[in-house]
């Protein structure tokens, strides 16, 4: 009997458990998934929690509900991976041998990386919304906040869901309008990038929306420290921006266990082949989701497309066949723009988001890079798709693994 070990039962690890359970011969392969947590969080919901659009119970379910029968779920803490000897050392001293290892340990915030972020103002006037607790604390703060300078801030790239901070700024605009206090709030969007987003065409569209909503942007801002007394963020060039409420996206890093195992880069992300998803250091280790260092968005849609390709590659690896370098960096993201509207972007390593229709070329019904109410309904419907289809590894109808060029308006 051979053993497939999956580290992490988040979005990516859960999808792999479901795919491989269907594809691998259960007489030859035992599949184990390890995660120390008991709760699976619907992370896109963190964006809605602060604005009272979702309730906490909308976005939490037990991890075990999504692990198929026949796959063992080990709810315990991992110490490190020992690739030379093909085992995973658990904190309790157990050694779990593996034949094939999948790393899906994700990314998490590291506020300690920025001087002053965890200072006296943390959770008083400095908040994050990239954790369940952070989003909930921020909700409670917003409920009673009386206004002033709201600064929405990205510390450094890469971050999970790179559009989420912009969406936060858009939703904040709507939220304060609905509370009849928009005139009491200045919203500033602070980014280390040169503009609203990383790709030129989408940046133009998003910049237009920022202007329309009177959200001021400060770009090329590389934060050095937060002054808790003055309540300002200061960049390496000496630029300082005052805040009354700072909503920051701290540095994102891979799990500490990657560092303990000596398998990561300077941010604990695992060097991974961008086409095959095989780790660069060890042929019997594969990596997907936020844990990789590949230049694709750290997002659930990316993990979904990766999981389909990785499943094929694992079958090939087991059969001794060459791997398919097929992953194209495909990402598909709804961008909430406030007032019950959203836009949709679809892109990959080589094609930036452009206008068009999705998923059916020329038909839609979703519109790419254009605001619409239907896109917003798509985003809300996605929560159901996530729990009921995506995690179970069900192929989403009409949505291809590799990005389609048809139906898009490339210049």
């Amino acid at each position: 009997m051979k053993r497939m070990l999956i580290l992490g039962a988040g979005t990516a690890g859960t999808m792999m458990a479901n795919h491989l359970h269907k594809e691998l011969n259960s007489k030859e392969w035992e599949i184990d998934v390890i995660d120390e947590q008991e709760t699976h969080y619907y992370q896109p919901g963190y964006l809605f929690l602060p604005f009272d659009i979702y309730e906490p119970e909308d976005i939490v379910k037990p991890i075990k509900d999504f692990i198929p029968r026949g796959v063992n779920l080990i709810q315990d803490q991992i110490d490190r991976i020992v690739p030379e000897e093909q085992y995973v050392a658990m904190t309790n001293g157990d050694r779990l041998h593996y034949d094939l290892l999948i790393i899906a340990t994700g990314a998490k915030i590291a506020p300690e990386e920025t001087e002053g972020m965890l200072g006296a103002e943390w959770k008083k006037s400095i908040f994050d919304f990239y954790t369940f607790e952070g989003a909930l604390d921020l909700r409670n703060k917003l409920r009673t906040w009386e206004g002033g300078n709201l600064v929405v801030h990205i510390t450094e790239m890469p971050i999970k869901c790179p559009v989420a901070p912009l969406e936060f700024a858009f939703l904040a605009d709507s939220y304060f309008k609905n509370k009849h206090m928009r005139d009491k709030v200045n919203i500033t969007f602070v980014t280390p990038l040169s503009g609203a987003f990383t790709k030129p065409k989408a940046t133009t569209t998003l910049q237009h929306l920022l202007d329309e909503k009177q959200i001021h942007i400060e770009s090329d801002f590389a934060i050095e420290q937060i002054d808790n007394e003055q309540k300002t963020i200061i960049d390496y060039g000496g630029r300082s921006i005052p805040f009354d409420l700072l909503v920051t996206v701290p540095t994102n890093k891979g799990d500490d266990l990657i560092a303990r195992s000596g398998l990561g880069d300077d941010l604990n992300f695992v060097p991974t082949d961008k086409g095959t998803l095989q780790s660069k250091a060890w042929p019997n280790i594969f990596v997907l989701g936020d844990a990789t260092n590949i230049a694709a968005s750290k997002a659930g849609s990316v993990a979904h497309f990766e999981a389909e390709i990785l499943t094929e590659n694992i079958k090939r690896y087991i059969a001794g066949e060459p791997l398919n370098a097929e992953f194209d960096g495909h990402a598909n993201c709804f961008v909430e723009t406030g007032n019950g509207k959203a836009l949709l972007i679809d892109f990959n390593y080589t094609h930036e988001p452009v206008e068009g229709t999705f998923p059916l070329p020329g038909i839609g019904p979703l519109r790419l890079l254009k605001e619409s109410r239907f896109n917003h309904m798509g985003k809300l419907a996605f929560r159901w798709i996530y729990w009921n289809m995506l995690l179970k590894g069900t192929h989403i109808p009409f949505v291809s693994t590799n990005m389609q060029e048809a139906g898009k308006e490339f210049a």
Binding site: E156, P192, S194, D220, Y236, G237, D266
Partner: protein, 102 residues
């Protein structure tokens, strides 16, 4: 598109970054620095040489990596190239705009 910089015709993209590193030379670097209001000193060139070496080794660049490089700390990097230092320095070095982000 083509642009004549320091007497040489080079290929650049719409943001002004050289698209073929092989076309770069120090005169072009000096000229691109002038466009960004920077007078190059030996210290500037040390940083530019470091960026070019990393580029040739296909190491993705970020402000964080440069801070840990041992060549220059982030504070000094900002003193040398005050506005958007990584982008400005990359342009002067003749290498692509860093894809620090998706």
């Amino acid at each position: 598109m083509e642009k004549v910089i320091a007497g040489t015709s080079v290929k650049i993209n719409e943001e002004g970054y050289l698209t073929e590193f092989a076309q770069w030379n120090t005169q072009i670097g000096t000229e691109l620095a002038k466009e960004a209001n920077i007078d190059m000193t030996p210290r500037h060139w040390e940083v530019i040489t470091y960026l070019q070496t990393e580029f040739k080794n296909e190491v993705p660049l970020s402000i964080r990596k440069i801070g840990k490089s041992g060549v220059v700390d982030i504070k000094e990097f900002y003193q040398l190239f005050p506005i958007a230092p990584l982008k400005t320095a990359s342009k002067i070095a003749g290498i692509p705009k860093p894809a620090s982000c998706i």
